[in-house]
């Protein structure tokens, strides 16, 4: 079960894109989102200090079905160590 010769999993294209992508300058770049995708509400970013980094709920929700990559190849293991796997957490606690 603990076979150490297993090849390490390779990051997916989506994981690599996330890592190498640069931050948009939301206020200074005209972004042409594909048709049907709403831009961030400009009213949220009118002041100088917001740096274009305020986003309304409707804008953010558009990403929900679009980006579903795990944060890293070892995510399942990491999740198990922190949150516990779902079978663990779903198990009702016995009151002893």
């Amino acid at each position: 079960e603990t076979n150490k010769s297993v090849e390490p999993a390779q990051p997916t294209a989506g994981m690599q894109s996330l890592k190498s992508a640069r931050f948009l300058q939301v206020r200074n770049e005209a972004i042409n989102y594909p048709e049907g995708i709403k831009s961030p509400n400009p009213a949220l970013n009118v002041t100088s200090k917001s740096r274009g980094r305020c986003y309304d709920k409707d804008f953010l929700l558009q990403f929900q079905e679009v980006f579903r990559e795990k944060p890293s190849v070892d995510w399942d293991q990491k999740l198990k160590e922190t949150v516990g796997d779902s079978t663990d957490s779903a198990r009702p606690q016995s009151a002893r």
Partner: protein, 231 residues
């Protein structure tokens, strides 16, 4: 490795033929991401095993992130709140702040909170998501308010509770007196946060969201003035 960076970049932004590719253009091969105003850390409190484990060991840092895309990658691959065991918590806090009232940045603060007592009547996953989006999208505070520390959801036997932790209890901190805000302004900022938090939870007008200072709850019965508001 795929040589896409060698492609001549025709910068004709007008017709969408630019070299800027968002996740909406190509979720596998995008080259820009949406920055968040703050770096955020997601924490998780494990339910106690009943073997005398102390709370600090149960509080685990899960991951930090600073882009919209990263947030969704995490959210889409983590246990839903509705599937957590009792006595679990998720905490989403600004990076560098531990989600404990003892943290130096929390010890003068407090929280707005609402308890959902009828667990079956609500969609806790949607509510917690909307509160997280309000936090990372910076819809809860205005620039310079410097009040939001983080948001939290508690899973308990009889209820779910969602909270918003603030840096102050609506008055200036020791050593910060006279730095800009009057007492009235500090309190008004805190009340504004409460109203926006309530709006993010889509609560009815007559469902009160209540504020309490951390030290008030830690030393119940102390004689210090209680900061207790509701919106």
């Amino acid at each position: 490795a795929n040589g896409s960076s060698d492609k001549p970049s025709t910068s004709s932004t007008a017709n969408g033929d630019s070299d800027v590719r968002t996740v909406f253009d190509d979720p596998e091969n995008f080259n820009v991401k949406h920055p968040l105003m703050n770096n955020w850390t997601l924490w998780f409190t494990k339910p106690p095993s009943g073997k005398g484990d102390n709370w600090a060991e149960l509080l685990k840092e899960v991951i930090s992130f600073d882009s919209v895309e990263e947030f969704w990658g995490i959210y889409n691959n983590i246990t839903a709140t509705s599937e957590l065991a009792q006595k679990s918590d998720y905490h989403l806090f600004k990076k560098g702040v531990r989600p404990e009232w003892e943290d130096a940045q929390n010890k003068h603060g407090g929280k707005w909170a609402f308890q959902f007592k009828d667990k079956k009547a609500i969609n806790i996953d949607a509510l917690w998501l909307h509160v997280m989006l309000a936090a990372i999208g910076e819809n809860l505070e205005d620039e310079d308010d410097n009040e939001v520390m983080g948001v939290v959801v508690n899973v308990r036997r009889g209820f779910y509770r969602i909270g918003l932790w603030t840096r102050t209890v609506g008055r200036s901190l020791p050593g910060e007196q006279g730095k800009g805000k009057t007492v009235e302004q500090s309190k008004e900022t805190l009340m504004k946060l409460g109203r926006r938090f309530k709006a993010a939870l889509q609560l009815k007008e007559n469902d009160p969201v209540e504020f309490s200072g951390h030290t008030d709850s830690a030393h119940a019965g102390s004689t210090r003035a209680k900061a207790k508001f509701s919106v």
